[in-house]
Structures are given as structure tokens and as C-alpha cells.
């Protein structure tokens, strides 16, 4: 009886509070669907929520070792944002992503911020996990390249959002801002070692049920600390630690606790007109030896982007058009270590270089063209598969 009584009381209290807030005492139960703030705020001609988003699409022409599947077009993402200032210093934001049309639909963000003070904000909901720079900053129109950095997708599993809660804030120190974020989240799951990539692959650990429950009842901890200097840039360090496997079921132990650690260093600064942007990730996972040597305990990688605006002016009556020339270097080692049988190095790594040209009509909209050349070496260190190709595309906020 007790829980039911409490629920009833809570429900009545919240209805009373809502009613007080919106003056809806006269609305009947049948009209409950209209008892929603965005409707009566709209009726009062107050915008209660803002809608935005971005979209990106591109062409692809790639060839691996001389074999190409030909030319194709890709609608990568159509993302919708909803934002609302619910009350002073209480905010809501969400992002719904449609990938490849409706092939992949994912709620990437749905969170609330309760700002006690600018240096102390309580955040809860589905949030972008603060590992590295890219994961929280992955909106396509911000980037000069069509493809995302591989270290940010194949090591750090961007876009990685999870359900969690924690604190974040900004502390100004003279010309600097110190920012912190620290959250408890459900965490990555066993897919990191049971996947079709046939290697330790964190991206496959984003179990669909993570927004519903923790797979092992043991939340992961993640944090990012950064120092930002106005008109110069930002450097950040971040980390994640948690157990990824199910080690207990129905109260019975069924496995060892297996931990996963991710560390990242990111930077973003400008020297004269050249912008430098990148991140380095290091992963240490407790992998059972019986699953095989192709699942590495240690991975690392980096990307670094150089962006140079080499032309700015008026074009076809558009003002302040900027043409950026950019270059990206990438390296990933999926499996740092040696084979037990031969004591030779395990390879499983890749290098990539990608020049790009971006025509920015505004900070929010660009056309861009990229070329990529990539060398993928397999586990055994056989001659690398060489992939190269061209992409042309656009991205824009709306």
C-alpha cells in the first residue's frame, strides 16, 4: 500500500503544481493532452521551445586495391534539435538523429540542466559522454571534412551518448576558463568483444538497452577537464572507467569483472591563421585471453587537423564567403602487443591522410570536397589494403 500512496501523493502534488503554474484548474481530464506547457505558452505568444538541426549529404567514389564499387550518393544525417528554457537556469535540449534516411534513428541527447551556479550545473538524461573533443562537438557543419575522424569513431565510439547524471561547470580564471564535466553513466557493454569487426571495438559496445538499464549494475564514470584561453583555444583531458561485462546474474557470479579504461587528450587552437584541432585516445581493456589474440587489450590512435582559410570575400552576392584548405592525418592501432606464438608485433593498424577544401557560406553552412588515402594493415602485418577516393558534399545547420 505504501508505495501506491506515495505515488498517488506525488501525482496529486505535481498536478497541483502544474495547475498553479499554468492556471489550468478548469481543464478537464479529457483535455489532459492539451495540458502541456508548449501549447499554452504558444497560446500566450511566448515561444517555449526552439527547433533546429542540421543535415549533411555527400557523394562517394572509393577504390580499394584498384577495385571500386563505383560512384554513390549518401544522405548521412538529418538531425533535429529541440531546446527549451523551462525556467530561469533550467534548460532542456534534445537531438534526434536520422542516419541514412530512416535506416538508423537514434536519440542522441535528451537532457536537462539545472544551473545552481555557472560553476555548478546539475545535468541528467541522455547526454553526450565527454571523452575527447569530437564526441560532444560532432555536428557536421562544424567540420571541414566529410568523414569523421577515425580515432573518434573507431576508438572513442562517437557519437556515444548514454543515460547518466552528474555535474558540469565553468570557472573563469583571468583570461582562462576552466571547465569540468563529470558524470555517472550506464557505460559500454560486452559488444566490445563480441562483434563482427573481430577485434576490440568499443563502438559495438553501445548496447541499445543502455538507455533503459545498466547491463551489469555497475555505472561507469567519465570526466573531462579543460582549459580554454580566449582567442587562442582549448586543451582537454578526459577519461572513462567502468566494467563492460555481465559478471553477475540473478545474484550469482558468472564472470570476473572486466574493466575498460579510455583516456583522451584533445586540443583546439590557432596560431596566426592556422587552426590545429585533434585528439589522441588510449584504451586499456581487460580482455579474457580465451577470446583470442585478435582482441587487443590496448589500443591507441590520433587525428590532427590543420585548417587554413586562404580566401575570403564576396561571391555571387554572398558576403564573407570563406574558402578553407584543410589537411587531416590519422593513425589507429587496434591491437598493441605481440603474438604469443611468434613474439612478432600484432599489426591491425591504419594510416590515413585526407586533404579537403571547404567553401563556407556562413559559419553554419558549407560545401566541401575531400580526398582520402588510407593504408589498412591486417592483424598479421600482411601488405596493407590501400583505399583512396573522393567525396563531395554539403552540411548545414538550420
Amino acid at each position: 500500500m505504501k508505495p501506491i500512496f506515495i505515488l498517488l501523493l506525488l501525482s496529486m502534488t505535481s498536478q497541483w503544481l502544474a495547475a498553479q503554474d499554468v492556471d489550468t484548474l478548469n481543464l478537464t481530464n479529457k483535455d489532459a493532452v492539451y495540458q502541456r506547457p508548449f501549447i499554452y505558452e504558444e497560446q500566450r505568444s511566448n515561444l517555449s521551445a526552439a527547433v533546429g538541426g542540421y543535415l549533411e549529404a555527400n557523394t562517394n567514389y572509393f577504390s580499394t586495391d584498384g577495385i571500386s564499387e563505383g560512384y554513390s550518393m549518401e544522405m548521412r544525417r538529418f538531425n533535429i534539435f529541440l531546446y527549451s528554457t523551462i525556467k530561469e537556469r533550467i534548460k532542456f535540449i534534445s537531438e534526434l538523429e536520422f542516419g541514412h534516411g530512416t535506416e538508423e534513428i537514434e536519440l542522441e541527447t535528451a537532457l536537462m540542466d539545472f544551473e545552481l551556479h555557472p560553476s555548478l550545473i546539475f545535468r541528467a538524461g541522455i547526454l553526450l559522454v565527454p571523452i575527447g573533443y569530437f564526441n560532444q562537438n560532432q555536428d557536421s557543419p562544424k567540420w571541414e571534412f566529410i568523414d569523421r575522424p577515425l580515432v573518434s569513431t573507431n576508438l572513442i565510439p562517437s557519437t556515444y551518448s548514454d543515460v547518466g547524471l552528474g555535474l558540469h561547470g565553468t570557472i573563469p580564471i583571468r583570461d582562462f576558463s576552466f571547465t569540468y564535466e563529470t558524470y555517472l553513466i550506464n557505460g559500454l557493454q560486452e559488444g566490445i568483444i563480441t562483434n563482427e569487426e573481430n577485434r576490440t571495438f568499443l563502438r559495438a559496445g553501445k548496447g541499445e538497452e543502455r538507455f533503459g538499464e545498466d547491463n551489469n549494475g555497475s555505472p561507469a564514470f567519465t570526466t573531462r577537464l579543460a582549459l580554454n584561453k580566449r582567442k587562442f583555444g582549448e586543451i582537454g583531458i578526459s577519461g572513462y572507467i567502468g566494467n563492460y561485462n555481465i559478471f553477475k546474474k540473478d545474484g550469482l557470479p558468472i564472470d570476473e569483472k572486466r574493466s575498460l579504461l579510455i583516456g583522451a587528450l584533445d586540443y583546439n587552437f590557432s596560431i596566426k591563421k592556422v587552426k590545429f584541432l585533434g585528439e589522441i585516445a588510449y584504451i586499456k581493456a581487460d580482455i579474457p585471453s580465451d577470446v583470442g589474440q585478435n582482441f587487443g587489450n590496448t589500443q591507441w590512435g590520433f587525428h590532427t587537423d590543420l585548417i587554413y582559410p586562404f580566401w575570403q570575400g564576396k561571391l555571387f552576392s554572398w558576403q564573407n564567403i570563406i574558402l578553407n584548405a584543410s589537411l587531416r592525418f590519422e593513425y589507429l592501432d587496434y591491437n598493441v602487443g605481440k603474438f604469443r606464438d611468434t613474439d612478432s608485433n600484432i599489426s591491425d593498424h591504419l594510416y590515413s591522410i585526407m586533404p579537403s577544401i571547404g567553401l563556407r557560406f556562413s559559419p553554419n553552412t558549407l560545401l566541401r570536397m575531400s580526398y582520402r588515402y588510407q593504408w589498412d594493415t591486417d592483424l598479421f602485418g600482411n601488405p596493407p589494403a590501400k583505399t583512396a577516393g573522393f567525396q563531395f558534399g554539403f552540411a548545414s545547420y538550420f
Binding site: R258, D290, L315, R340, S344, F380, N382
Partner: protein, 411 residues
């Protein structure tokens, strides 16, 4: 403004021209056909090519626990062990075991033999070799190219090549291995059973698989722990329990998937020799025959009539007789399959030998277990029926040895 526009237009034009030019210069070149092992045979029809590609996809499929992998296994895909359709790396080596007692070999199936599943899905423990085993052998995965041609050689041809009693007195006595056929085996017109209903094996280090379906079903089952319409039992780790631990409904692959992989294996092209006209290679070829390597590594075989036209009545050059030969005590691992003696091994085809390092991480890992890290080392490990050839090789001049090895690398 005009200047800027001109600058921008030039850039866009340059980018456009580069894109067009890129198809030629900025994309990686396709390697020469004779530099890679994978790819279909020439002359397949559109429909056959589609079947080949379906089989290629199945061959490359990575199994996960959700798809039925394991719970005890050696590898999670065909491709993992046969990278680029070539030989395997030592890290993908299979281990087989059994027990000799009173002159009889027991594969210890009641203890999880004959093959060790040395990996397990997360949360399970891999199998270990039981203490009862006194015969243990390691098998490096072979290249899978050209298998369709080898599969299409008739039993009569093999029996014709065999000389079990060394009637010609040359010290070489190749013989066939007779194998108890599995339930799903359907003999072809030219399959010749022995008096006890066993059929000639030709695939595997001990020639213990009769045909490519037999080999494929065993590989799915024993290497990956994948059940099929042909074999519904997962490998068991008897150290844990005699019960099957995989709760994925069986079969985990259909008969069609198994058959598509067989079609793929049948229609993979044969390795194409390189530098055939090179004088050193030609000298090496002559020496190869002169020192009797070609008595077991027969250069040429011919297929019988096949349902796939490109495999029908074709002469080809695998450098094998597909027969068992005693290779001496140094290569005796005290392990066997079928009627083979522990020191007997099926002659491996030498075609594609020169491309082995491209699948083995840049090194050679030769002989049945990869113990030889060079061609010369492999030659010197030949004992038993090959002792004379080894001695002849040792007596060759340095330049002749180099010529012989150049020839082997050209295959």
C-alpha cells in the same frame, strides 16, 4: 572582386580536373593478377559469378556468440585463418590430439578430441589438451586457392599415381588415405570406395576430408563451433560438462550457406606462376625435377568431367599428388587421421608458395605446423621418402640451390 572570383574559379576548376584525373592517378592500382591469390577462375558465367560472390561473403562472415560462435572455437570466420585465401599465420594454427595405445590411435572424441578448441566466448573457458593425449600435432591453415581443380581430379587418377608398395623401386610409395564418409557425403560417379565403404580423402594435412563439403562442414563445426544442417552438434568442453553450452538454435548456418562456401572454394582461381621465362627460374624447375622433388610434388594433374565447365577435363599444375608419404621421424607428431601413419603427410600443393608471405605477415611459416621459416628450412625438414631428394638438394651448388628456390618462389 574579379580577382577573387578568378582565383576561386581556378581553384574549383583545378579541383574538378584533379577529380577527373584522380581516377587514373590518385586511386590505388589493382595488383597484377599473379600477385594475389584471391579472385574467381576465368570463364565463370554471370550466374556462377553471383554464386562465387555469395560464397565469398559467407567465407568472410564473422560469427559472434549471437550468431552461434562457439561456445568453444578456434576462429570466428573462414577468412581469419585464410587471409587473402592464402596460408595461415602461426597464431591461427589448429591443434589436434589423440592417444596411441597398443598400436591403435584413439582421437579421444569423448574428451573433446581430435581438435582442440583453444578459444571460448566471453565468460567461458577454452578447452585444454587432456592429460590422456600422447599424440599432438599442430596444423597451419593451408591456402584455399585452386581447390576446385584438386577436388575434380578423379579417384582413378589418384590410384593411378599411387605406388603404395614402391613397385618402381624409387623409394617413394605414395598411397591414398581411405576415410569413413560422413552421413551427408554423396559420392560422385568417379568416387571409388574400398571394400569397407570408405572413400579416398584428399584435403587436409592427413588427407582426411573426402571432398570440399566434408572439409567445409568440419571447419564450420570444429574451427568455429557453428552447427549446420550437416552437423548439428557443437564442440564440447568436457572439462566443463558433456552438455552443449551453445543455446543458439541449430542449425546456425543452413545447408545453402555451407554449399555456397563450397562453390566459392571450387571456383577460386588457381595461383598463377610468375617469372616463368626467367632463366634462373627455368633452371630451378629443371633441378626440381632432376632431384626427384617432382615425384611427389607432381607438376601436372588433370580433372575429370565436372558440373562446372571451367573445371571439366582441365590440365593444371598444382605440384602435388594428393597422396600420403612417410616424411620421416622428424615430422612424426605421433598423431594421425584415417589410415595415415603418424609420420605420413599428404603432399601439399606448392602452387602459390611464393605468395605465402603475403598472407603470413611477410614471413614463411611452412610444413604442416609452420615450423619452417624459409623454403630451404622446409626442404631440409623432408625425411623419410624424401630423404634422397633432400640429400640431392644439399649436394647442389649454392647457385643451383638459389635457382631451385627462385623456381619455388615463382609458383
Amino acid at each position: 572582386m574579379k580577382n577573387n572570383l578568378a582565383k576561386l574559379s581556378s581553384l574549383v576548376l583545378l579541383a574538378g580536373l584533379l577529380s577527373l584525373y584522380a581516377c587514373e592517378k590518385f586511386l590505388p592500382n589493382e595488383p597484377e593478377e599473379n600477385e594475389v591469390l584471391d579472385g574467381p577462375m576465368e570463364g565463370l558465367s554471370y550466374a556462377q559469378t553471383r554464386l562465387f560472390l555469395e560464397g565469398d561473403e559467407a567465407f568472410s562472415e564473422v560469427f559472434t556468440p549471437e550468431k552461434g560462435l562457439g561456445a568453444y572455437f578456434v576462429t570466428s570466420s573462414c577468412f581469419s585463418c585464410h587471409s587473402g585465401d592464402g596460408k595461415g599465420h602461426p597464431s591461427t594454427t589448429l591443434t589436434r590430439f589423440g592417444r596411441w595405445e597398443n598400436g591403435q590411435f584413439d582421437p579421444l572424441t569423448h574428451l573433446g578430441g581430435g581438435q582442440l578448441q583453444n578459444r571460448a566466448i566471453a565468460g567461458f573457458e577454452a578447452e585444454v589438451i587432456p592429460s590422456e593425449a600422447n599424440g599432438i600435432a599442430k596444423f597451419t591453415p593451408p591456402a584455399v586457392t585452386g581447390l576446385g581443380l584438386l577436388a575434380a581430379v578423379t579417384d582413378a587418377t589418384l590410384l593411378d599415381v599411387a605406388d603404395p608398395d614402391d613397385m618402381d623401386g624409387n623409394g617413394i610409395s605414395g598411397r591414398v588415405n581411405y576415410i569413413e564418409p560422413p552421413d551427408f557425403f554423396s559420392p560422385l560417379e568417379w568416387n571409388i570406395p574400398d571394400e569397407e565403404g570408405r572413400y579416398i580423402g584428399r584435403f587436409g594435412k592427413k588427407a582426411a576430408a573426402i571432398d570440399l563439403l566434408h572439409q567445409t562442414v568440419n571447419a564450420y563445426n570444429q574451427d568455429m563451433g557453428i552447427t549446420s544442417d550437416f552437423d548439428m552438434n557443437d564442440p564440447i568442453n568436457y572439462a566443463v560438462s558433456s552438455q552443449q553450452t551453445d543455446l543458439i538454435p541449430d542449425p546456425e548456418i543452413s545447408a545453402a550457406t555451407g554449399q555456397s562456401v563450397v562453390f566459392y572454394l571450387r571456383t577460386l582461381k588457381a595461383p598463377i606462376p610468375r617469372d616463368e621465362s626467367d632463366a634462373n627460374v627455368q633452371l630451378g624447375k629443371q633441378l626440381f625435377m632432376d632431384i626427384d622433388c617432382g615425384k611427389c610434388h607432381i607438376p601436372t594433374l588433370k580433372t575429370g568431367i565436372s558440373d562446372i565447365t571451367v573445371l571439366s577435363e582441365v590440365e593444371f599444375h598444382p605440384y602435388t599428388d594428393l597422396l600420403l608419404h612417410n616424411m620421416g621421424e622428424e615430422l612424426n607428431d605421433n598423431y594421425t587421421e584415417g589410415l595415415a601413419e603418424a609420420a605420413e603427410w599428404r603432399t601439399p600443393p606448392l602452387w602459390g608458395l611464393g605468395l605465402s608471405p603475403d598472407a603470413q605477415g611477410g614471413e614463411f611459416f611452412l610444413m604442416h605446423d609452420g615450423r619452417a621459416t624459409s623454403i630451404e628450412e622446409a626442404i631440409l625438414l623432408h625425411g623419410g621418402e624424401a630423404s634422397n631428394s633432400r640429400t640431392y638438394y644439399q649436394e647442389l651448388s649454392t647457385s643451383d640451390k638459389e635457382a631451385l628456390i627462385s623456381f619455388l618462389k615463382s609458383l
